[in-house]
Structure formats: structure tokens, C-alpha cells
Amino acid sequence: MLISLLLILPFVFSCLMLAASSRDVNSSFRIGLFCTAVPFVLATALVMLGGQQTPSYAWFSILGIDVEFSLYGYGLSLWMAWLATLLSLLAYAYFKGMPGFEIKKFTIGLLVLEGTIIGAFLSAQNIVQFLFFFEAMVLPAAILMALHGGLKRRRAVIVFTLYTLIGSVPLLFGAWYLMIKAGSDNINILTETLRVLPISTQLSLLLAFSLAFAVKTPIFPFHSWQGITYSEAPYPLSAVLSGAMAKVGVFGFAVWIIQIFGSILQTSHYDIYFIVLALLSMLYSAILALRQTNVKKLLAFSSMSHLSLAVAGLFCFNDVVNAGIAVMLVGHGLTAGGLFFLSGIVQKWTGSTNIKQYSAFVSTNPIYAAIFGFVGIAAVSVPCTVGFVGEFLILQGFFYSSFPFFALIGGVGIICSAAYMLRLIKNVLFGPIPENSRRAGISLSFSEGAAAIPIIAFILYFGLHPAPILNSFGPPQDSANNTFIEQEEQEFEEEEDFERMGEHNAQELEEAGDDN
């Protein structure tokens, strides 16, 4: 019930916002704040309950494929949905201070984007449903960008939309092919079906699936869309894009690649290639982040670097690492999102995105500097902050899963991340106070200051007490056993159905072939 509400409410609220006045900005803002706060409260309640799940409802049936609809809110899904609601709320609070925003349009767009992102995260059972949200989230993001973006926003919108949509075309066809073979879109049946296919087909499907997620995350060399997109999108949107939407890519790897292709990856040892590519991507983006002068591009590369490490960790096939990845993604959402918000404020103050133009905010705005410094240092993953727990668990996973050398490479990435973050902090906060600056009257607005509190609080809370996130993955041994038993039972029950369905499908396929 709660989980269905969580999905539906953002869409309902976005319809409500249509009725809000575009002239009375303050009342619209209050309504919008309510609309974005309620999903966060719901998601938090869901997290406290430990997650929920709906049964599968028959959605529609086409070409012999029984498409179902179900919401799954445990573990990674749950926490990512929570993160999406939190970042939307914060984006909303930060955006109030941005000049030239149309509050009504932005709120509607943000709510639709939030709803689609939540939808994608909660679709861990049925692939059609996942694909629907996976594609749908591009549109509100593109529209928001077109409304409020920078000077080159037209180009950015086209690049972003087409690159990500085209990137997922192979996934569409791959999923379609697999569903026709399976006659269902349920992940367990898809997994079973894949096992009986020839190895070459399995690998082709693997490539088709992973391309879409590699584009979305993004992973080298499919990242060309992100520089222009993040730098042209308004800051609050960049925060949601990197903090929540990019994680759909990682989530896609975690659910649709690891679960469906897990066995073929391990038997064919293709997992090594994925780890190598992801680590390469991590180093590549970390090194490029070192020389960026555009703060948004710097943060975009930093984000890519962290997410690549998370993707690399997924291919360890280690339950502890998976829990660590969830912690790291939550942490990354908080720090990357927070840094986008905070640099948006600097841009508002100085009118520039070039970090060389910033200076000495610690002298002129110490409170802002304290927040920025804290979030920046948290992005380096020092212990006590949530990032450390994530990186610790992921890197130890490389050691534990007999890839010690990869842990060393991950370490180099950590050093690079410290280097570019310190460079950013130094440029923004330190240095001599520039002459003829108009710094006298500027300070954080109330909503900007208030929005920083949850970021700092959650960074510290999960850094010192990551148990809420870790526990949602359960003690791995028990949960592994449980799921194994459940799976066996399910398999046992479904075996007959499955066989029957398979025959049915085969017949239909033959018939279809005859028709042709």
C-alpha cells in the first residue's frame, strides 16, 4: 500500500500543481514544498518498515508475453527510491533561490522526474515496467533542461535525449527477444530462460543489456553526453541527475545484469572485463576531473568516477560488497547532490561556473564555507562519513574476491578523488579576498541553509551508523539461504507452469512464423 502510494503520489501531485497559481509565487512554493516533502516522508516510513512489496498484477499480454506489474521495495531499490525523494525535496528547496525560474513548471517537471525515477527503482521484478520508467525519465529531465538550462541548452537537450534513448535501443530489443523466448517479463523466468540459450546468444544479449546501463551510468567510453548535459542543466536538476538518475544505470547493472547474467558472467569469466572497464572508467574520469575548470564538469567527472567504482564492485558477486555499494550510492547521492547544490549557490553569487573565478568564500561567507568544506571532505570519503563505509566495503571486496590488484587501482582512484576535491575546495574557499567584489550583501537564504542540514546529518549518521542500510541487505548468509530456499520452492511450484508456458510460447512462435 505504502509503496504504491510512493509511486503514484508524485504523479498525482504534479497534476495538482497544474492548478497552482504561477503568479502567487509564495503560495505555489508552499504547495510545491508539500508535494515534494510527502514522498520523502513516505519513503522514510517505508525504510523504517524495512521495505514492502506488492504482488504481481497482470498488466497486458502481447505476442504471448504475459506482462505483469509489481513493485519491489527492498535493499537497493528501497534505498535508491528514498534517495530520489530526498534529492528531489532538496532540489526543490535550493531552486527557490535560483534566478529566473518558473516555479510551477519546474515543480511539475521535477515531480514527474521524481516519479519516473522512483518507478524505475521499484521495478526490480518486471522488465517491461522497468523499461517504461527507464525511458520515461529522460523526457521530464529533457523538458526541465530545455526550460531552465544554460545558453547551449538546445544542443544539450538533443544530445542527452538521443544519446540515452539510442543507448537503450539494444536493451529494448534484447529484452524483447528474451521475453519472447520466456513468455513472461518476470526476472526469475527470464533468468531461467537465458540459461538454456546458446552461449553466443547469451553473450550478445549481455552486451545489448549492458550498453544501455553503461550509457546511463555513464561508463567510459559512453560518457560523452554527460559533460554538456550536466553543464547546461540547472544546478538542482544536475543534482538530481547525478544523485539519483545516474544511479538507475548502476541499479540496472545490479538487477538486470548481475541477476540475469550472473551465471554466464562467472562461467565465461566476462566479469573480469566488466571490472577492468569500470575501473578504467573510474581512473579516466578521476584524472579528467583533475583538470576541469568548469565546476559542473568537474562534479560530473567526479560522479562518474564514483559510480564506475560501484559498478566494478558489483562484479565481485559478493553480498557484503553489494551492501557496501548501496551505502556508497546513498553517500554519493548526498555528497554529489550537495556539491551541485552548493556550487549552484556560488554560481548565483559570482555569475561564473569557472572555479578560477571563485575565491576566499571562507573569509566572506564562513557558514557557507563550513558546509561546502564538510560536504567536500565527505566526498573524499574520510571515515565518519558515509562514503568511507561504502568504499571500505567495496575495496575489501576486491581483495576478498581474489582481485587484490584491483583494490590497488581503486586506491589510486581514491587518491585522485582527494586531489580534485582538495583542488576544488582550495579554489572555492581559500585565497585572497578579490578586490572590487560584490560580496558584502550575499549570504545563504533560509531555505538554502536549512536544506544543508539533512545532507550533513545523513552523511554523518550513515557514516557512524550504516546499520539501517546494511541491515536491509540482511546478514548475507541467512538471506542467501532464505532466498535460495524460496527460489527452490518457487522453482518447484513454477516448474510445471513454466514448462507449459514454454510449450505455449513455442507453439505461438511457430504459428507466427507460419503466418509470415
Binding site: I166, V320, V382, C384, F399, A407, I415, A418
Partner: protein, 626 residues
Amino acid sequence: MTTQIPLWIIPFFPLLGAITLGAIALVRVKSEQAAPEAYIGALAVLFPLCSFIATVIFASGMPRGAIYAETLGNWISIGYIQVSFGFLFDSLTKIMLLFVTGITTLIVVYSLGYMKGDPGYTRFLSYLNLFLFSMIILVLADSLPLTFLGWEGVGLCSYLLIGFWNKDLLNCAAANKAFLVNRIGDVGFLLGMFALIIIGGSTILNYENLNQALKGGIDSTVSYGWLVIAAFFLFFACTGKSAQIPLLTWLPDAMAGPTPVSALIHAATMVTAGVYLVARLSLLFVFTPEILFFVLLVALATALWAAIAGLVQHDIKKVLAYSTVSQLGFMFMAAGAGAFDVAIFHVFTHAFTKAALFLAAGSVIHALGGEQDIRKMGGLASKLPSTFSIMLVAWASLIGLPGLSCFWSKDLILERLFGHGSIGPLFYGIALFTALLTAVYMTRLLVLVFLGKFRGDAHTAEHIHESPLVMQIPMWILVAGCIFAGYIWPGLPDFDFAEEGHYSALVFGIVGGLVALLGLGGAVFYFRKKIPKYTGHSELVGFAKVWTFAFDSLHFAIGILPMHVAMFILNLVNRFLRITMMVMGAVPMICAEGLRTMQANKLRMQLSLSVICSVVFIYLLVFFIR
């Protein structure tokens, strides 16, 4: 077990202090009137003092050989990774905590005078409290991950305090360098922990469990290999924090921070964290003699290199910084020779001595209005009699004049080195030579600063003044430490480290004392006559420059330069990818609409691209799947 106070009270006080002072600093930002310094100062001293008193209560009520342990709760708990917040108070912790909290309290008092009138007064004191908190966590933790928390925490405070005067970007660059070089070491710390997890799961990260596991014996050669790897990486981490070869370049640069910071963090406490870690993991290192030998070699090289570098510096704080690196080398020498108790002994005596030296140097800098170049000093003995006497005692202690505290510890180190294996005498010779150099560069410092005639300008000479009482009292207490620390030591520890046979202690003492006197005499004779001229700039030239920046050059060659090359190449790759993307977008447009409409309707171009690509993908898929 008479005490009932919980252990967490010790780190709790400075944490409270850091939060309180930090909050005051932030709240006071808007108001024109600065916070009353007396009130802030009293608060800032109160918390470390409480912490010190709590430590004393624990230490005094502790029976010999007792161990207090306390677990506060789980930190990371998932599957085979179980890490908890737990504290361990044994004799090693006791000694570290006693001098860490004690010296911090003294230096906070000193800072009240030194930082008086600075706009960041409250912030500075807040950072000092935060540092004390992290340092206490570092030494009080019962497991490696929690120690790592303190380890990074002190690194962070070091970063904040080196770059304290952040309007000068040079200070910020030094701070960044310190953080980054330490970060490289920290990755070693992480890898070392991971290697241990391989051997015995995460429970082995707890010190007591680790020692028990080691005493139980190592099963196979496989886990022995991991043990060596773990010891290597953990020592690598120590080279970062304790400024040993190859990660020592950050410490001399760290002198950009205010002098109390140099005294506290970069001389007395934080930089000895590496020695503490090696002593804490002594059993692990004893089980891996290869790594212990490696430690010894690195320590000898570092001590010798830094002593020579100390000979050619012009900056009073840089001389002391290289001296610190050299003395840390002595501590690791002792550890490398298996004499972990002696290493901690030298940590203990050196902390008082070097803190007094730095504070006296700070007093000199304060008196001269910020001048740090020893070529522009001289003849200050009569003008700053109190500072001179403090410096004199601390100097005598550091060069190892018999009877003072560092003499005892250094003498023990040399003795243990001599007895270490068949090539022990060779190591002894190198260490003795380094001790001779120590006497030479320290005497050079003393002569150039305090004897002869004043070489600065007349304007500065008029304003020379003795430091206020609030700065002098802490120094005099430290001087007491310089004299007596060697005598109170035998009452303090009760380590169960392996003891080695003693040689004739008297002979070693006489030789050590003679070497100190020799260096002293030679240096006085030489530097009284040959005073280096001030050349108009503070940069080093010739041999001095090459030698001092040897490792900076090395870092540039193997770290920074390749990184720049990589940046350049990857930027080209990135451009190529972006151009490819744009070309792929442009080609269909040209095909579809012809060259004339090249700048017209881009949306249509992109749509056609998507159609074409879809067709291609369908074709490819069908082709591959069939």
C-alpha cells in the same frame, strides 16, 4: 579495577570542546564584535585539561599489566565484516595518552598567547580540540578500522591547521600536499587491513584478536604471504603519517602552519602515530622479520638523509622539521631492531623536547615579528633570556647530553642497534654518525640564533620582546619534561615486548655522550666564525637544494609528471569521443538534407540518426542472435 569512569569520557571532552568552539566560531561570524578571548580561551583549555585529568585517573588507578576494554557499539556489521566502536586501554595506550593530552593542554595554553588577536582565534582552538579528539581515538581504539578513523581525523586536522591562514594560497598548497601524501599512505593502511581480513576475517582487525591469532601460529605459507603483505602496507601507511622515506616531503612544507601547530601536530604527537602503530602491531612485525628489517633500513636512510638536510636549512622551523624527520627515523630504527618499548620511550622523551624547541622557536619568531630566517637572527641570548634558557635545555636534551631525557632513549636505541644481528655494529655506526650530525645542526641553530651579534635590521631589533607569561609557563613545564622524562619512564611501562640482552650500558652511554660533545664542540668552533650571509632571498641553492628536494623531485618524476601526461592524453581521448559523437550526429543530417541545410533543422537530423541507428541495431541483433 577501582575506577568507574567509562573510557569514552577521555575522547568525549575534546569532542565537546571542538563542537562548542566551532559553534561559537560560526555563530559569531555575523557579529562585528569578536568573541571575548578570555572566555573562549578558558573553554579551549578546559576540555583538554579534563581529558588529561581523566587519563591520569585511569593511569594511576591501573594495576600493572591490567587492560581495560570497552565496546560502545557496532559500526559496520555485515556478513564477514564486523567492526565495532571499541576502546582498549593498556600500558601502551596509557603512555601515549598521558603525553598526548598533557602536551596538548600545554600547547593550547601557549596558543592563547600566540594566536591572540587573530581573527580565527576561536576556529583555531576548535581545530586543536578536534585534533586532540582524533588523536585520542587513534591511540585508544581497539581495532585497526577505528584507529584508521583517528588516523584520517588527525590528517584532516593537520590539513585544516596547516592551511589555517588560508588567504595565502601557498599555505593552502602545503595543506593540500600534506593531505594528499598522507592519503597515499592511507591507501596502504586500507590495503593492509584487507590483507589481514583475508587471513582471519574482520575479527582479526581487533588488536587483541590479532595477537592471539598470531600467538596461535600461522597455518600455511599462503597466509604467511598475506601477513607479509599486510605488514608491508601498514608500514607504508606509517611512512606517510610519520614522514619517512618515501612519503616524507609533506612535513617540511607543513611548517606553513602556525607554530603551536608545528609543535603539537608535526613534532610531538601526530607524526609519532606511525611509531605507535608499529608498536601496537609489534607481534605482526615480529612475525614478519623481512618487513622489520625493511623498517630498519628505511629508518636509517631517513634519519641520515634528514640530518644532512637539517644542516643546510635557513628557516628556523625547517631545521626543526628535518630534525623531527630524523628523530622519527631513530624511533623506527628502534622498532626495526625489535625494541618497540625503546621506540615508544624515544617518542615520549622526544615529544617534550621537540615541543619545547618548537615553542621556543615560536617565541623567537613572535619576538622578531614573524622573521624565520636564522641568517637574520643572532645575539638573542641577552635579549630573550627566558626563551634562550628554554631552548638551551631542550637543545641539550635533543643532542643527547648525558643526564637529559633524550640521552636515555637515544642511548638505548644505539645499544639495541649494536646488538641487532651480525651487522648490528654497522647500523650502530650509521646511527652514531647521525647522532653526531644531530649535535652539529642543532648547535648550528643555537649559535646562529642566540650567540654572536644581531644581524637583522635596526627596526626589528628595537621591538624584540620576551613572550607573555601565558606562553612562557607551558614552555617551562615542557623543559621540566626535557629534564625528568627519562627518569619517570621506568615507572611507566610494562610492555610484554621481547627483551634482548644488555651490553655494558656504561660504555654506550660514554660513547654517545662523547659524540654529542664532539658535534657540539665542532659546531660551535665552526659556526662561531663562519656565519652564512643573508643572500637576499630565502631559497636554497646548489647542493642544499638538490639534497633537500630529492624526494620532491622523485615524487614529481614518478607521480605528478605521469599524471600530467595522462591528463593530456586522456583529454585528447575525451575530445576524440566527443567529436565522434558529434560527427555521428552530423553525418545522417548531411545525407538526409544535403549540404545546404547543414545549419538548419537539427532535430530532424537527430531523428533520422535515431531511425538509422535503430535499423542498424536491429540488423546487428538479428545477425548475432541467429
